[in-house]
Symmetry: none
């Protein structure tokens, strides 16, 4: 038996998306509808009814964990997602290159994404990592990932994740100082390290050759670091330790890759899998098929649906869903042994077009495979999912895929 | 955007209510059915599947809180509901005027509701509040609400909510002594104060002019206080602190008003809103519309359905549901902007006629508004709700109304 979990980020929508229909309803998805016909559908509350999920907490819940118990922040998944060696006690952050302008001693944020810089980030990261901080016993590492994105890890004694962020989440306003969010030396000390480090980041980056070249080309300099999502390393028992099976993850975005790594999956990097709307879906399907030769199950994350939702672009979201149908599911289903595979497809939350951010509503979920009791629903969308044979439930989609494969541990005897 | 949550207390029923139909099924509700047609329905477990709710715990759960975490007893909501200034450390009770008869030194309960006394309660409360208790460092306040109902608050050091009650829940039997329900001085001390206070209540009330006049009129005297539902002040973060929006509550009953106050809503008192079957439903609809001019959302509580259920009067319950349709929803819907409003209608539990008390079954719930994915259900009742597009879920109805309005905080990132 083999298992496949496919999550299209932000898949769910609202009737306001496109003339009374959600993007998923409006999209032509003959292959996915075929899966619905032979399988069963239902409504998934990614975390719980009425709870508006983040992508990280939703993924933890869908993979079988209780985010209320283990989640401390996104930083740790960002660090794991760029293959940093996270150890117990480390404090992790999502970190961005940004563009700031010095004005009367303040660093005014001009662009929180440094003009979505496309090259030179590794050289800039080297310059950052050469900074020496004065707080004794603390070291750090910045690692660049795609575009302006990166991760920051602090290591040392007496550090705390209870610190704020320097990102003002607005432009034309100064970067904020990091603040301690709990009493005691550890949080004060952590905030001090971060303030020193980010202040020195401007000195290290402002006149860096990469930024000199960017200025010559009329591009915004990547001359500052914004950090947020402080987290420490949670204790997450691996899926292998609980179910005795080995899984692989195929995900373009560092956050999702990081969540899956925290759960013990092995990452498979796919050239062309960008974590965006331009991702190579056929390459991901190919990689999933190959992964199933070696692993018991594979988790495939597809990000573009959420990007289109955040961009409030209904046409892009509908079109991308149609591409998932034609370029991911069609080649995938041609090459799996349907009698020996259980598969689930869902989203990690809704990202309606009119709002452009995550909302609380349940998302449609679909299971197919020989052990799934089929229902009468023949198309896969928000409306039909409400009539599905699986009813409405919260989280734990991966444990269900593994369960259909008879791999679940028994609770009790 | 605006939000409306309407709870008809004890709305749900059983096929034994009236010839194979629940009262809600038997009632003609064209306006509510119209809402069902344009919205979506489902089944709500007020607290959780198979859990038989009280009204207070059910309301906490529906408003988005976990009653298992924060609920200690109804007393605090009764005290808040009559606008008492509840402080951390206070011990609160639901308290009734009752009629007792002295017999061989015992106080025999003749009527637990003092003949449902209709006037003079404030004078009797003054007499109670003039009692001095011998336990040092403890003060108290009794406040009368409607008919025999009232609330009692103890303030002082070393008090405990772990005490029993003096209400025997039967007549012809002596009032019970309050007992400490946990070891230690605090519970003993609290029970001692309560025993002293209720014993002295008979002395303070027996020959009170109000009771002399009642005796002359052939009415039962209100000559004793029964107290139950000991509770301390829970820490409840306000809805405004979590969602950033301001709400109003319209509720005739002190308990519901108190629960909403504990959650930070502003009470709007409506003349004619009695918390009974004789309530002025049009006045409540008017008040709700006015409240929406000033507040982001309004919670309207309608009590009569539950009263009819407790009275085991199917005709009264069916008729009252029809009045809710014609006298509350019809004028309300005429005056709201449906494109800018999300609304939910449900009950806080079932109160079937044959049992005359709350039962565990799920209750139908309905959502309508521009962001709700409509289902195919066209009438609102227990049977159709089981076929609804929202499936079955537990609690958190208000967070969903606020979520459809894009007001929810995100858990995770």
């Amino acid at each position: 038996m083999k298992g496949i979990l496919v999550i299209a980020d932000g898949l769910g929508g609202r009737p306001t998306d496109t003339n009374g229909k959600t993007c998923l309803e409006a999209a032509k998805t003959p292959v996915i509808d075929g899966l619905a016909r032979r399988g069963a559908v239902g409504l998934l509350d990614p975390i719980g009814p009425g709870i508006r999920p983040g992508s990280d907490t939703a993924h933890l819940s869908i993979l079988g964990y209780d985010p209320y118990e283990i989640y401390t922040g996104r930083g740790v998944f960002e660090c794991l997602g760029v293959d940093m060696d996270v150890q117990v006690g480390d404090i992790c952050f999502r970190a961005n290159f940004a563009t700031v302008e010095k004005k009367d001693g303040d660093l005014i944020v001009v662009d929180r994404r440094a003009g979505r810089i496309e090259s030179g980030q590794r050289d800039l990261a080297d310059a950052l990592n050469a900074i020496s901080v004065d707080v004794p016993g603390v070291s750090f590492e910045f690692r660049a990932s795609t575009q302006h994105r990166g991760a920051l890890l602090l290591r040392g004694e007496r550090l705390s994740r209870h610190v704020g962020e320097n990102d003002p989440h607005a432009t034309g306003t100064p970067a904020r100082p990091f603040e301690a969010l709990e009493p005691g030396e550890a949080a004060e000390r952590t905030a001090a390290v971060l303030n020193e480090l980010t202040e020195k980041s401007f000195d290290a980056l402002a006149d860096h050759p990469v930024n000199v070249a960017r200025a010559d080309a009329g591009e915004l300099p990547a001359n500052y670091v914004l950090a947020r999502g402080a987290a420490d390393c949670p204790h997450i028992p691996s899926i292998e330790s609980m179910y005795g099976v080995r899984g692989a993850v195929i995900a373009g975005g560092a956050l999702y890759r990081g969540v899956a790594l925290a759960c013990g999956m092995t990452p498979i990097d796919v050239p062309g899998a960008t974590g965006g709307l331009d991702t190579d879906l056929r390459a991901k399907a190919d990689a999933a098929i190959r992964a199933l030769g070696e692993y018991d199950y594979v988790f495939v994350h597809i990000k573009g649906t959420d990007n289109a939702g955040h961009d409030q672009d209904a046409e892009a979201k509908r079109g991308f869903i149609e591409r998932i149908d034609a370029e991911f599911f069609a080649p995938l289903l041609e090459r799996i042994d349907a009698a020996q595979t259980h598969m689930a497809f869902t989203g990690d939350h809704t990202t309606p077009i009119d709002f452009g951010d995550h909302t609380h509503e349940p998302v449609p979920v679909l299971f197919a495979g020989p052990n799934v009791v089929p229902d009468r629903v023949e198309t896969f969308d928000e409306r039909e999912a409400g009539r599905g044979g699986l009813g409405r439930f919260s989280g734990r989609v991966l444990p269900m895929v593994l369960g259909y494969n008879n791999w679940s541990p028994k609770f009790g005897s």
